[in-house]
């Protein structure tokens, strides 16, 4: 331990702590811009400078380790003035665009400018004048707003193992660019959106589709139908000032109706359906010598990744579409029929924790209903904007429930939102199908939690099925390299592109730290516990769709509507 004095407060902290960490211990907040709680030290913005006694130069608190007897001043006039100058310099290269910016009100640079009372900037204003990159349907980049903190670069390369982003040049000419300085669409970007969470400012964001939604709602001939993923409810409250997990589902449904959706359905319905299809696909592969291990296929960022980096393993991917796309093809066929609505009048809107789902919906093969199956995808953040725009008061709003035929769901669907959830849901069903007996305890807790790679075994009538779960694509790489080398001991592997699973998806409320991801995971299991039915095959509406329409899992209709195929991306700049 090392004894230090910070702003007159004496404390002792572990060896190797930084000034920033020591200050946090005693409840003193030092401003930061490039520092990130889950990342390596960058020390490139200098916003965190402090005075250290005996040192003429100010020290960066995020990188400077403490030493015995160190005396630090974090808010002396000299420090405040230096931070103001540093901010003025950063802002002199930054577009003054807050009013139009996707991060207005949720931006680390804007907050700092506010805290340090930046008014008139003495430095000459000089922005980069570069075009925005809207080359993908999911993620945009505005290089003019980049403050060069490099947090996105670390996320993309270290957390996601993609490496789509890097630096160009150095010094005052430096910029963050996708591979070879090309558009994001030409880079290996898988559209996971994790860089959006990493970015302190509005230099990266989701491509918004709010205007298209409002136009559809305005058109009296269009029937606007929505589905919503399980990870949305647990997080969307954060957008309207609630605690994690606090948003009540029935009030959220009511709010969606107030926004103007004609019908409110749930992706959870097709999550349950996915379990029936995917569970049976697994059993079929196990009994008929199909390609193993089988990989889950509900995370479109992961699909992009597999198509980019592991095209030789595409046959291992389950052919099941993601729940979003199963929903899309059914809403314009089965549901339209049930409701007696012309499919071409349906505008199908999906609300997702995910940015990659925007891309998935735009894939040319996703039109098995004869129309584009999902018309637009909104993220949880866009839903938050809609809720605020509509001025919804959650204290007053009368609860409402989901519409019929594709609105019922079980706890097994709810847990799709957390890493390990698809695996647990599948095991709940596969166990009962194989063993023909009731599963006493539905909780497979080994599959739960935020750790990067988890593994488990289940004994099904003497056959030991080995499963593994990875979240975050750098972790997926480890399991994939094993499979490629022919050394994988597993039968079934669940992969979610985003750390923690969909609750940490690229479209969720801005999530700077992993702590928040863990809290949302907890919220997911609370909701599962509260469900009366917790096994997908017991979903009453799923039973009906098989009786009346699909007939059987993996049947002819399923193949037409619920399954898909994959293509190697053959990207040059990987």
């Amino acid at each position: 331990m090392v004894n230090v004095t910070i702003d007159g407060i004496k404390t002792s902290v572990p060896d190797g702590s930084t000034i920033l960490q020591a200050a946090q211990e005693v409840g003193i907040r030092i401003p930061t811009l490039c520092a990130h709680p889950d990342q390596s030290v960058k020390a490139n913005c200098r916003v965190c400078v402090c005075e250290v006694e005996g040192n003429r130069l100010l020290q960066a608190a995020c990188s400077q380790p403490v030493f015995e007897g160190m005396v630090v001043k974090t808010k002396s006039p000299k420090v405040i003035e230096a931070r103001q100058t540093i901010l003025e310099l950063i802002l002199s290269n930054h577009p003054q665009d807050c009013l139009n910016c996707i991060r207005n009100g949720n931006c680390e640079l804007q907050d700092l400018a506010k805290e340090y009372c930046i008014r008139e900037n003495p430095f000459e204003m000089k922005t980069r004048g570069l075009p925005k990159d809207f080359s993908t349907p999911a993620i945009f980049r505005d290089p003019n707003k980049c403050v060069l903190c490099r947090r996105c670069v670390e996320t993309c390369s270290i957390v996601q193992g993609v490496g789509a982003l890097g630096l160009l040049n150095r010094g005052h000419n430096a910029m963050v660019v996708p591979s070879m300085g090309q558009n994001l669409a030409d880079s290996p970007c898988v559209m996971c959106g994790q860089c959006i969470h990493a970015c302190p400012v509005g230099a990266i964001g989701e491509v918004e589709y709010i205007d298209q939604l409002i136009a559809a709602i305005a058109d009296p001939d269009t029937i606007v139908v929505t589905q919503m993923a399980p990870a949305v409810r647990v997080a969307v409250g954060e957008e309207v000032g609630m605690e994690i997990g606090e948003m009540p589902m029935d009030k959220l449904v009511a709010a969606l109706r107030q926004i103007g959706f004609d019908y409110v359905l749930h992706t959870n319905f097709t999550a349950d359906l996915t379990i029936l299809e995917e569970g049976n696909e697994l059993l079929k592969r196990l009994t008929t010598g199909g390609k193993l291990p089988m990989f889950t296929s509900c995370s479109p960022g992961w699909i992009n990744f597999c198509e980019t980096y592991y095209p030789d393993l595409l046959e291992n991917l389950s052919t099941c579409k993601s729940p979003q796309q199963m929903f899309g093809s059914l809403v314009k066929t089965y549901w339209a029929d049930k409701m007696n609505i012309e499919p071409k009048k349906i505008f199908s809107v999906s609300i997702m924790p995910c940015t990659a789902k925007k891309f998935e919906a735009s894939r040319p093969e996703m039109n098995s209903s004869g129309y584009q199956d999902v018309d637009i995808v909104l993220t949880t953040r866009e839903l938050g904007r809609l809720l605020r725009m509509s001025g919804i008061n959650f204290d007053k709003i009368e609860p409402s429930s989901f519409d019929s035929w594709m609105g019922a769901y079980t706890g097994a669907a709810v847990i799709f939102g957390a890493s390990g959830g698809v695996m647990e849901a599948a095991l709940r069903t596969v166990y009962e199908v194989v063993m023909k007996e009731e599963l006493k305890d539905v909780n497979f807790t080994v599959t739960r939690g935020i750790q990067g790679i988890k593994e488990a075994e289940v004994d099904l009538n003497g056959t030991v099925v080995k499963v593994a779960i990875a979240n975050g694509l750098a972790n997926a790489r480890k399991l994939m390299d094993q499979v490629r080398a022919g050394e994988s001991p597993y039968h079934f592997i669940e992969i979610m592109a985003c750390p923690g699973g969909c609750i940490g998806g690229g479209g969720q409320p801005i999530t700077k730290s992993n702590l928040k991801r863990e809290q949302r995971i907890a919220g997911i299991y609370v909701e599962d516990e509260q469900c009366a039915i917790r096994k997908s095959h017991e979903n009453p509406e799923v039973k009906i769709i098989y009786e009346e329409f699909l007939k059987e899992p993996l049947g002819h209709k399923s193949h037409e509507l619920l399954h898909t195929h994959y293509h190697a991306k053959n990207k040059k700049l990987i």
Partner: protein
């Protein structure tokens, strides 16, 4: 040697990518796109990272440029000693602006940081060969060596 052979020969050398880029640039006078993509493959890095290396050092260029690369030091000592006049003379003589290449593909004009010859400023280099105490009057003779 083809660029693939060059890269392969540096595969296991520490700092091999930078060395290989030097060797490739010696042949092509810049780093063509395919050489950076191949370098990423050989050294098992993302293309974005190889590009980062290729653009970090001012001695590498990722743009096509003339065969003979003339660099003028723009650091303070050279600047004070009249580097701007040398630049103007070069621009006039070659009929191009700083950063451009001549249309016959013979010369490229670039700025560089201090090359460590501050005792005899201004300094220019042509393909790495250093010329000291350069004045506008010396430019035609220097260029003639490469025509």
């Amino acid at each position: 040697m083809s660029y693939k052979e060059i890269l392969a020969s540096y595969k296991d050398v520490p700092g091999g990518m930078i060395e290989a880029f030097h060797a490739i640039q010696g042949q092509y006078s810049y780093l063509p796109e395919e050489t950076i993509i191949e370098a990423a493959r050989v050294f098992n890095l993302p293309v974005a990272k190889a590009y980062e290396v290729a653009t970090f050092y001012s001695m590498f260029s990722v743009n096509t440029r003339g065969k003979n690369v003339i660099r003028i030091c723009e650091s303070a000592p050279c600047h004070v000693a009249g580097a701007a006049d040398v630049v103007a003379a070069l621009e006039r003589e070659l009929g191009i602006k700083m950063g451009e290449s001549t249309s016959d593909g013979k010369f490229a004009l670039e700025l560089t940081e201090c090359v460590g010859q501050c005792q005899a400023t201004p300094v220019i280099t042509v393909n790495g060969k250093v010329y000291l105490d350069v004045t506008p009057a010396k430019i035609p003779d220097i260029l003639a060596e490469y025509k």
